[in-house]
């Protein structure tokens, strides 16, 4: 048994599904992702990206130490089991994006004092798909599912953009309408993370960066955010800065 910490909605999701097997979608020594009734739930070792749809197994360095062979996963009474290992939720963690005050949004024309250099792929992606640095329903439709891997870069950009609007308390119905079709067009993990972003649920690095916005700590937080995944953190940051620009313009 390994107690885990969980975001509130992940716990509720596990309690909402009937007891029974859940398919394992992806597995690595740092993370296991399962499909819980059409929603992706992760089991995250400390070095994995602490996605807001994950159970945090804080005390386990390597999931292979506790889950061996080719395990089956199932949910029983709201508790996820992987192989013979139960993962009871012992604590609720906050993943909601911190509120960003209006004056912080408006503070500077170029908000990021030290722009961490995004990876070439992200810069290239921005050049080809976000030439005018603006996201609306049409761009969202173009971005959704675009890119490679478990979380395509286009989805990361959209997630960063959506979460920043939650932080600023600004509704985004048009883009959300597009994103609602995500399950058909991208991986289940990425679709789940877009759902999280719509609900204002983010990675700790994203929240930490937002809290540091406009302060001396911001450059370090930007670098930490960019360090998440291959391009995911940089994608989230790109989406968020695009959102900041348009919010500032609108004001």
């Amino acid at each position: 048994m390994i107690p885990v910490a969980a975001p509130r909605r992940v716990r509720e999701r596990l309690h909402a599904v009937p007891d029974g097997p859940v398919p394992i979608l992806h597995r690595s020594p740092q993370a296991i992702y399962v499909d819980v009734g059409g929603w992706c739930v992760g089991v995250l070792a400390p070095r994995a990206a602490q996605v807001p749809c994950g159970l945090r197994a804080t005390g386990v360095a390597d999931l292979d130490d506790v889950v061996s062979g080719d395990p089956a996963a199932y949910v029983s009474c709201g508790t996820l089991h992987v192989g013979s290992c139960a993962l009871p939720v012992g604590r609720i963690v906050e993943t909601y994006v911190p509120r960003v005050r209006r004056e912080v949004v408006l503070k500077k024309a170029t908000p990021v004092t030290v722009q961490a250099t995004p990876p070439a792929t992200v810069a290239g992606f921005a050049a080809s798909h976000l030439a005018d640095r603006r996201i609306d329903a049409a761009t969202a439709d173009d971005l959704l599912g675009r890119g490679e891997g478990l979380t395509p870069l286009g989805d990361d950009v959209l997630a960063g953009w959506l979460a920043l609007h939650r932080a600023a308390g600004v509704p985004t119905p048009d883009v959300e309408e597009v994103v609602r079709g995500a399950t058909e067009r991208t991986t289940l993990l990425s679709a789940t993370l877009l759902d999280c972003a719509q609900h204002g649920e983010v990675l700790p690095e994203y929240a930490a960066w937002l809290r540091a916005l406009g302060t001396d700590e911001e450059p370090a937080r930007v670098r930490a955010l960019h360090a998440v995944g291959a391009t995911s953190g940089a994608g989230l940051h790109l989406g968020a800065t695009v959102a900041l620009d348009s919010l500032r313009e609108a004001a």
Binding site: A5, R8, R91, I92, V93, E94, P98
Partner: protein, 462 residues
């Protein structure tokens, strides 16, 4: 008669310490009078010669000498075998043994910091807690029976270093969503709590949880923190911490009425903070905890919910209220409410009081003593109403209702129970409530409401 056997092994080197061990092993072989296994250094040759062994000329310090003196009937082969075994390197069976656990708080903090939770006997608590402060770490002292002078010393040191001491005698804390001691499982949220009372804090956590308001941190400070002796040192630091946390929108201080000069100090300090601070002070003429929570909810623009009541008790023959509690503050609050409404001679017992815990675990862990008293009071027709609390959360017994329900099932008198718990508590609060209600109790979430209801029931049918 004994016989000497001296053999030289060239190119066989072993450390002198290893060879001492081998010599000792061989000496233990039955029939061996004495034995020396050594490198043939001049000193060793001298020792061997001194023992009467003849070392062949021409041996060098790089040679290994095996000198064995056998008693009559001694077996040379067995002795030589012992030499060979001794010289064969052995694989250590314990090589993979885990490092021994640390023995002091100080050594456990030597390599990496951490929040320290002290629950050793009171006479030793101060020393462990001081280790935490010396390592620059915050500490919660669950232990009781810590002299007030030590509390003052601990808190003064902490204040100098910007550290937080929760306790001594701090039963409950939540730090960044992690419950310490007896704490309810909470959802993180906008309210911060500073509590000089454990079960008072738990009642607030339970009510806020029901209202859908989360608490990320509830910092216990110990029952004496706001006394004149201690001066509110930990309360000030706790307020400072919560004010610095931008997720905290409102702070509630739960305490008995402080010493007047301490109250002034706290109010003065609270006025310098960006976060609003509300006080919930338990005492005669003060609002109860449920009212305090309702005020907080209003401040957060959250609608005050109906405090749930499950089950129903009917009045009996009337009589004074018998309050049997495991929580100090739940007991005190109930007593204040009951006595303010009804001047009769009620009795209230706090089974968590020192008098009931010497040499015993706290009643939240070991319910035996209270159960006996519950059975007695439940069958006593002179009891107007039996008023109980059940405190859930981390650290508390896994299924309190299972033991309490049989004791109240056959009660001859009305039974009112406050279940202090949240939805997330490991005991499954709703099931606990259901079991108690099915046993005939009227179960409340609000302790003050339960007390008022007990007064009502204690008036009897007439």
């Amino acid at each position: 008669m004994s016989t000497d056997h001296v053999t030289i092994r060239t190119g066989a080197y072993a450390d002198s310490v290893a060879l001492l061990q081998v010599s000792r092993d061989v000496q233990r072989v039955p029939g061996v009078a004495t034995a020396q296994v050594a490198m043939a250094t001049p000193l060793n040759v001298e020792v061997l010669t001194g023992l009467g062994f003849a070392v062949p000329p021409g041996t060098t310090p790089n040679d290994l000498v095996v000198a064995i003196r056998l008693e009559d009937g001694g077996d040379l082969d067995q002795a030589i075998a012992a030499v060979d075994v001794g010289l064969t390197p052995t694989r250590s069976a314990g090589a993979a043994r885990e490092a021994e656990p640390r023995r002091t708080t100080g050594s456990a903090l030597a390599d990496s910091p951490g929040l320290v939770l002290v629950s050793v006997p009171g006479a030793s608590a101060f020393v462990e807690a001081m280790d935490a402060l010396d390592a620059g770490c915050d500490v919660m002292v669950f232990s009781d029976n810590v002299p007030v002078a030590q509390e003052v010393s601990l808190k003064r040191t902490a204040a100098e270093r910007g550290l937080l001491v929760m306790g001594p005698d701090c039963g409950t804390a939540v730090v960044g969503g992690v419950g310490l001691g007896f704490a309810n499982a909470t959802v993180p949220g906008p309210v911060g709590i500073v509590a000089a009372s454990g079960t008072g804090c738990q009642q607030v956590l339970a009510l806020l949880d029901h209202a859908g308001v989360g608490v990320t941190s509830a910092l216990g400070v110990g029952g004496r923190d706001l006394s004149a002796d201690v001066g509110g040192t930990s309360t000030i630091e706790a307020l400072r911490r919560l004010d610095a946390d931008d997720t905290v929108e409102l702070v509630l201080v739960v305490s008995k009425p402080p010493a007047p000069e301490v109250a002034a100090r706290i109010e003065e300090f609270a006025a310098t903070l960006a976060t609003p601070v509300e006080l919930a002070l338990l005492g005669p003429g003060q609002p109860d905890l449920t009212e305090a929570v309702e005020r907080i909810l209003a401040g957060l623009d959250v609608q005050v919910p109906d405090w749930p009541v499950v089950g129903h008790a009917e009045p009996g023959g009337g009589g004074p209220v018998r309050g049997l509690f495991v929580g100090g503050t739940t007991c005190q609050e109930a007593q204040l409410v009951v006595e303010s409404l009804d001047p009769r001679d009620h009795t209230f017992v706090d089974f968590g009081d020192d008098a009931y815990t010497q040499g015993r675990a706290h009643p939240m862990i070991d319910p035996t003593l209270r159960l006996e008293e519950v059975r007695r009071a439940a069958s006593d027709p002179g009891t107007g109403a039996l008023l109980l609390d059940v405190v859930l959360g981390h650290g508390a017994e896994p299924d309190p209702a299972a033991l309490l329900a049989p004791a109240i099932t056959d009660a001859a008198v009305p039974v009112v129970v406050t279940v202090v718990g949240t939805r997330l508590d490991p005991q499954d609060r709703d099931r606990q409530v259901r079991v108690l209600a099915e046993a005939g109790a009227e179960v409340h979430l609000s302790n003050a409401a339960a007390a008022r209801r007990a007064v009502e029931l204690a008036r009897g049918t007439r």
